[in-house]
Symmetry: C2
Subunit: 163 residues, 2 copies
């Protein structure tokens, strides 16, 4: 018989996995997806296992795992007897990273909200948003510089002071 069910082209694999065609080739190049057999006309032919692997990669990527960690997870996934501590560690590391990014973004959102709330919707000259950026610019690096910044510093296109 030799029924090779589910052997699909790269385009079909892309459709089935939700990974773009170019990205599939990219993953192959990076060793995340083994090189598939080719047709007579040199076209890649993928089986269900490839497609499943692509979906695994896609999901892991959606969760924010960088490619090296995705590779690690894939590696673990096909060694069923290995202890799962490693996978746990990777997931926890990733969770910590994600939480770090969330709190970073939250303080950032808070500052943006404050900026927007203060905006008088008048002229740029009195715009709190730009003032905030300029003011913070002046004080944000006090730990770098001892010099007391004069408050009349222009943000404009630095016209160079004549010699």
């Amino acid at each position: 018989m030799s029924i090779t069910i589910g052997e699909v082209t790269i385009g079909e694999a892309a459709r089935l996995s939700g990974v773009k065609v170019n990205t599939i080739r990219f993953y192959e190049d990076r060793g995340l997806l083994p090189a598939p057999p080719r047709s007579d006309g040199n076209q890649r032919l993928y089986g269900d296992d490839h497609v499943a692997r692509l979906r695994f990669i896609r999901h892991a990527r959606d969760l924010g795992f960088p490619l090296p960690e995705v590779a690690e997870l894939l590696d673990l996934a096909h060694r069923p007897e290995a202890p799962c501590d490693a996978a746990d560690a990777i997931a926890r590391r990733q969770l910590a990273e994600v939480q770090r990014r969330i709190s970073q973004l939250q303080s950032l959102a808070g500052e943006l909200e404050r900026m927007i709330g203060f905006c008088a919707h008048d002229r740029v000259a009195t715009c709190r948003i730009l003032e905030t950026l300029a003011d913070h610019a002046l004080c944000a690096t006090d730990h770098h510089a001892g010099r007391d910044a004069t408050s009349d510093v222009a943000i404009g296109t630095a016209s160079h002071a004549g010699p």
Copy 2:
């Protein structure tokens, strides 16, 4: 007189602004910072206005504004008579983007927490983390594909089905 106070080298400007030397040159290249005058020995000489501008850029970048928007904000900042709606719009756009990223990351963290919570800390064969990735891999793209994925798909190195 022609007292050109505060003319500093690039290294000093870096220290004062918190922007790295290479990054300052990069910003100049990208048109965010005007090319400063040079010394006899061809070295850049920055004034207070340049340093203030660098601090403005740095703060805007810290808030996550991409460079083109930073450029827009800088543009606005030195046109004091322009209405500040544009700055407001940029800030609001940025806030929306940040909030979008936060909620994305939060659902992501939720999923990671669920994965980790379910982990039996046994063998990979029963590891919920890897199963979650594989399972979701199988259902996550149902909207792409009509084909009902068989549940015995291996994630392992796609050994190609013989012809």
